[in-house]
């Protein structure tokens, strides 16, 4: 050990705090100047922690499932009756769907319709809803042998029913999905059958709000909200939610995706060669990540 004189050591200990303060202020500046540093650190840490998160969330989910099973035992007959009624109703809908499918196929054959290419997708298990104080995001496990992990950045995340968010960070085995409820999330949407344009903005609450709809044509309560290709960030026509007016008479979107309890997400990587659909290149992390980081 190096022996230092007492005054020198005192001076050194007095200097530590200011030097460290300058260092951390420098970190803030560096973080602002190049957000990739923080992103890369975050992705590396997520990659390390994802298996540990998996270990914890597995038993918790099993326990949730367990209590659910026991709870179901007491309500078996009531649930059975409800399911039978629902089944009968769904069978009617199935007939409607089959008729519509046949009609749709006939119309497409008439029009010589060229189907849109199916995007490549990965299914990822959500291991943690590791949002921050002012951020809403989830961490999903992606297959480790995924080649270039940055190809996932910008991928559209859907759960079974609707749009959940977009991948903002990707490591070799985990991907962070910024949810549509995050305060930095902006999704161009089309409302109703006419596809009236608007912007869906997250507010860190459970339901995102609708902005910039066409003046004089407020979105109708209960209208379907789909993604729009405006701006090129999203493919058109993905189901997002339903319009609802809150107590302040502001239009919100009730998301179809169960954002509070996401279990499995499908991450769709839309190919680059789609015309006017994805001007943001998925392959280059520095531009895609900077543009889609939650902080601008």
């Amino acid at each position: 050990m190096i022996r230092l004189s007492v005054p020198f050591r005192q001076a050194l200990s007095r200097l530590t705090l200011p030097v460290m303060l300058i260092f951390s202020l420098g970190c803030v500046l560096i973080g602002r100047a190049d957000q990739n540093i923080a992103n890369r650190l975050r992705a590396a840490l997520d990659d390390i922690l994802a298996p540990a998160y998996m270990l914890v969330s597995g038993p918790i989910r099993a326990a949730e499932h367990g209590t659910g099973e026991i709870g179901h035992l007491f309500e078996l007959s009531a649930e059975n009756a409800q399911l039978r009624a629902q089944n009968a109703e769904l069978l009617q809908w199935q007939e409607v769907a089959m008729a519509l499918q046949a009609q749709n196929d006939a119309l497409k054959a008439e029009l010589h319709y060229v189907p849109a290419p199916t995007p490549e997708f990965f299914t990822g298990q959500v291991v943690a809803d590791s949002g921050g104080i002012y951020a809403r995001s989830v961490l999903a496990l992606v297959p480790p042998a995924n080649g270039d992990p940055h190809s996932l950045i910008g991928a559209v995340a859907m759960d079974g029913r609707g749009l959940a968010g977009r991948v903002v960070d990707a490591g070799s085995r985990s991907a962070r999905v910024l949810l549509i409820t995050d305060i930095n999330s902006r999704v161009p949407v089309a409302i109703g059958a006419a596809g009236a344009p608007a912007l869906m903005a997250g507010v860190n609450g459970p339901d995102p709000s609708l902005l910039y709809w066409v003046p004089g044509q407020p979105p109708a309560e209960g209208a379907m909200v789909l993604t729009s290709a405006e701006g090129g960030a999203f493919p058109p026509g993905l189901p997002v939610g339903v319009v609802h007016y809150n107590a302040q008479n502001q239009p919100m979107v009730l998301p179809l995706a169960d954002l509070g309890a996401l279990r499995v997400l499908r991450l769709f990587s839309y190919p680059d060669n789609l015309p006017a659909l994805t001007p943001i290149p998925h392959m280059r992390p520095d531009t895609a990540a900077v543009r889609h980081r939650r902080k601008r």
Binding site: L17, M20, S24, L25, C27, A128, A135, K295
Partner: protein, 181 residues
């Protein structure tokens, strides 16, 4: 340090290791706690728990055992908090250092004071840090963020400190006591 060599046990490698591990105990528990609090337990407001825990630990150790929590380790914890909690890089490092600095400055008044005063001082400092983090995040994001999490953090700081302090006092007298090595 006035005691002679008869009363002191010889400073062999094991004792040095013991002393080093005791010195490192506060920081190790702080970092380990940050990782554990990041685990997906599904608790509402879990994101707000992490900075409150870090502030509680740094406040306590700066008051009662400042030598065990040097400023570089506080910066490391702050950066870890920023990376794990999705806040702007470096913001919590600055805030935690500020908290440590203020606590060290108030040490002479707070150490002999009763628990209630120490608790009240922590609530005030933690709420101030939460407000500052809100202001910094709002400024860096160029938008007014919701104020709910600030209140949440203040309430968590008020509610969790007695329990946290009870655990940390035990650690202070047992596994973190370098003088017992």
């Amino acid at each position: 340090m006035a005691s002679g060599p008869v009363l002191r046990r010889p400073l062999n490698a094991w004792r040095q290791l013991d002393a080093a591990s005791r010195w490192f105990f506060p920081c190790a528990t702080l970092i380990f706690g940050l990782f554990v609090l990041g685990m997906p337990f599904g608790i509402a407001g879990q994101a707000a728990l992490r900075p409150v825990y870090a502030m509680g630990c740094i406040y306590f150790w700066s008051l009662y055992r400042p030598a065990s929590l040097p400023a570089p380790l506080v910066v490391l914890c702050g950066l870890l908090l920023d990376v794990m909690g999705l806040s702007s890089f470096g913001v919590w490092a600055v805030l935690l250092l500020g908290l440590q600095w203020t606590t060290l400055a108030l040490r002479r008044q707070l150490v002999p004071a009763g628990f209630l005063l120490v608790w009240a001082a922590f609530i005030a400092l933690a709420s101030l840090s939460a407000c500052l983090s809100w202001a910094a995040e709002s400024a860096l994001n160029l938008m007014l963020l919701p104020l709910g999490p600030v209140l949440m953090q203040a309430l968590l700081a008020a509610g969790l400190y007695p329990g946290l302090a009870a655990l940390l006092i035990r650690a202070h007298r047992g596994p973190a006591a370098v003088e017992l090595a």
